[in-house]
């Protein structure tokens, strides 16, 4: 059996062999890349659309409403209808805007989030690239999105957009630190930056349990910082609608706006996926060392269900923040980062290193 929902290694290996045996290595690589690209493009759109739907349903749940319920069963096709509407909308070109940068910006934002997906392990053997510096790569690539946001804000020739973009710049540059340091804390525990190794290391218990105090602190900081980095929830200052109408994407319409919108949701998905991978064991089922029967029962659930399950739980958490909390002010946002999260984080790295040195983790 080549196709196995518990282990995709043989399946991907089979495709790889098939291509290389029939084509020259160059063309095999090209075909492989195109295939992966197409699959990701499809997955990207589907997950993005589903997340928009989910957000509206979660939001409705928080607000005593029903949410979308007219188009299709349970309103499932509402986001598709919205997408069609956005595709058909006019792209308004702004006078005195920097045309080139204005048009490039949405692509930069969406490419940055696209690049991140490459490193995420969806199930055993199901990832595009298994870097040995996976964590580092994701951190580096994800921070490229802010360039797109800054360009969007600047080229729109709109003061609201500019304020939104500058806020976003300050915010992402600051919170990048906390995201990085909290991931480093876990890298110290795992001893590797490779996602596959990190996930394998959690086969006898997730890192959030293994590293106990230090891991929990790192997880909380990661959740806060990554919510800030995706410009969501109580940290949505870059598009604070009650202050800046729509922030950096005020002047965008139609599909260009949809790109920003989609990128925001995909960033949320990526961040949740990384949190799930690094802290909650990724596709690794819940294992408790010593309990064989329980572990086997857990193994029965396919890994990709574990992965998506964990990711969506974290996404639900992030949506919960967003629909409950009021928005922070820019100075409070920076105070939170530089005065609280960063020092705590630095100490936490030390504690984790100490725990690992002394072997006081599970």
């Amino acid at each position: 059996m080549i196709f196995n929902i518990y282990d995709f290694t043989s399946f991907t290996q089979w495709i790889d062999n098939l291509l290389y045996s029939n084509l020259s290595p160059f063309w095999a690589l090209i075909v492989e890349m195109t295939l992966i690209g197409l699959v990701f493009l499809l997955g990207y759109a589907l997950v993005g659309l589903f997340l928009v739907y989910l957000e509206r349903k979660v939001c409705a749940l928080m607000q005593n409403r029903i949410g979308p319920n007219r188009v299709g069963p349970f309103g499932l096709f509402q986001t598709i209808a919205d997408l069609i509407k956005l595709l058909l909308k006019e792209l308004i070109s702004i006078k005195h805007s920097d045309k080139l940068l204005f048009n490039i910006a949405p692509f930069i934002v969406i490419i940055a989030s696209f690049l991140c997906i490459a490193a995420i392990p969806f199930a055993k053997g199901l990832h595009a690239m298994d870097f040995n510096i996976g964590v580092f790569y994701v951190m580096a690539v994800s921070s490229m999105g802010v360039v797109g946001i800054l360009i969007a804000g600047w080229s729109s020739n709109n003061k609201y957009s500019l304020i939104g973009a500058m806020r976003s710049g300050a915010q992402i540059v600051s919170y990048e630190l906390s995201v990085g340091l909290s991931l480093i804390t876990m890298v110290v525990l795992a001893g590797s930056m490779q996602f596959s190794t990190i996930v394998e290391a959690q086969s006898d218990g997730w890192f959030i349990f293994k590293g106990h105090i230090s891991s929990v602190i790192a997880f909380v900081i990661f959740m806060i910082a990554s919510t800030a980095e995706t410009n969501r929830g109580p940290f949505d200052l870059a598009e604070a609608e009650s202050e800046l109408t729509a922030g950096f994407h005020t002047e965008y319409s139609g599909i260009k706006f949809a790109f920003f919108f989609l990128a925001e949701y995909m960033n949320m998905f990526i961040v949740a996926a990384i949190a799930a991978t690094v802290f909650w064991g990724g596709w690794m089922p819940l294992h408790i060392g010593g309990l064989e029967g329980f572990n086997n029962a857990m193994d029965f659930i396919p890994p990709f269900i574990w992965f998506f399950g964990k990711t969506f739980v974290i996404i639900f958490l992030m949506m919960w923040f967003k629909w409950t909390f009021p928005r922070l002010r820019i100075d409070q946002l920076l105070t939170l980062e530089w005065k609280y999260l960063l020092p705590i984080n630095l100490i936490n790295v030390l504690i984790m290193a100490f725990l690992v040195l002394m072997g006081w983790h599970f």
Binding site: K159, S242, R327, L328, R329, I330, Q332
Partner: protein
Amino acid sequence: MVEEIQKTIDTEEEYTINMGPQHPSTHGVLRFVVSLKGELVKNVQPHCGYIHRGIEKMCEKITYPQIIHLTDRMDYLSAHINNAAVCLTVENALEIEMPERVKYIRTIIEELSRIASHQLWWCAFGMDLGGLTCFFYGLRDREKILDIFEESTGGRLIQSYNCPGGLMNDIHPNFQQKVKDFIKYFRKVLPEYDQLLTGNVIFQERAKKVGYISKEEAINFGLTGPSGRGSGFACDVRKRAPYHMYGKVDFKEVLYTEGDTLARYKVRIDEMWESMKIIEQLIDNIPAGDYAVKMKPIIKLPEGEYFQRVESARGEFDVFIISDGNKNPYRIKFRSPNLVNLTAINAMSKDHKIADLVAISGSLDLVIPCMDR
């Protein structure tokens, strides 16, 4: 010299943005021209008049019973109170004593509309600070009051229920029971408002020490209503110049002395409790009798000047009528609490962040049609 250079640098660094007339947080068609230095607000210049309809001029051409249909289009969130102000002015000028029943019903309806107004303010204030869920909690409860209004008055937003000489028609038989049900329900859900917003750390940080205004300043600026009482200015007309039943019911004038956005917020939350207290004292004892006094078909005020103060949900609402003995007023002036409260916004928001300006203008609870008239 140094100061001069500093000044030019300052002005060069400043830039202006237009907030409004179409902006999500100006609650209507108000326009602020804001001078900013980075994110710091240096100067706020409000521009009014986008919904100026010349109500005062229109009133000079119409009769007194017709005026009430214009006043509830000014401050549409406390429409009953505006109407009552006009009615009281006319009734006092003609020296007509209202039956007890009318006074009771007017007081109850006014307190209900005060609660409804504060609920909507709470929704909008939460939204201004980015807490979008607040909006639905507030509107859920406001709907119940609007249902009560609809049953008795026939209108939900704009009711025109008061008229010179009493009420347009009697209350619906279900009125008392529905009001009692609502009070019982609202006593249970009002703590939810605190759970959702008041106790939130982010909210407290956003509201505390933002938009401070001292008591002396508040009096000088004429800040009335919850905005003034948040600074400790005892300006509740219901206490200072009682009308309707307010002289006879027991309620507390809510006063906070902090003078910041949080204090203004707390005043409104506490006022909802006080309003419920007032309604509870009256709802069971509405006396039987006429719901209106027989008035002359054409009401003519004797020559003179008549002034009436009432406490609307946003502050002191005054009606000043100068009559020359005709069926329509020679000059009618409405003192809009919103317009006067707006005067203070520049002083309050100086050197605050742009996000605070939104919070401050939200805490003043501005209703633009009342401001522009």
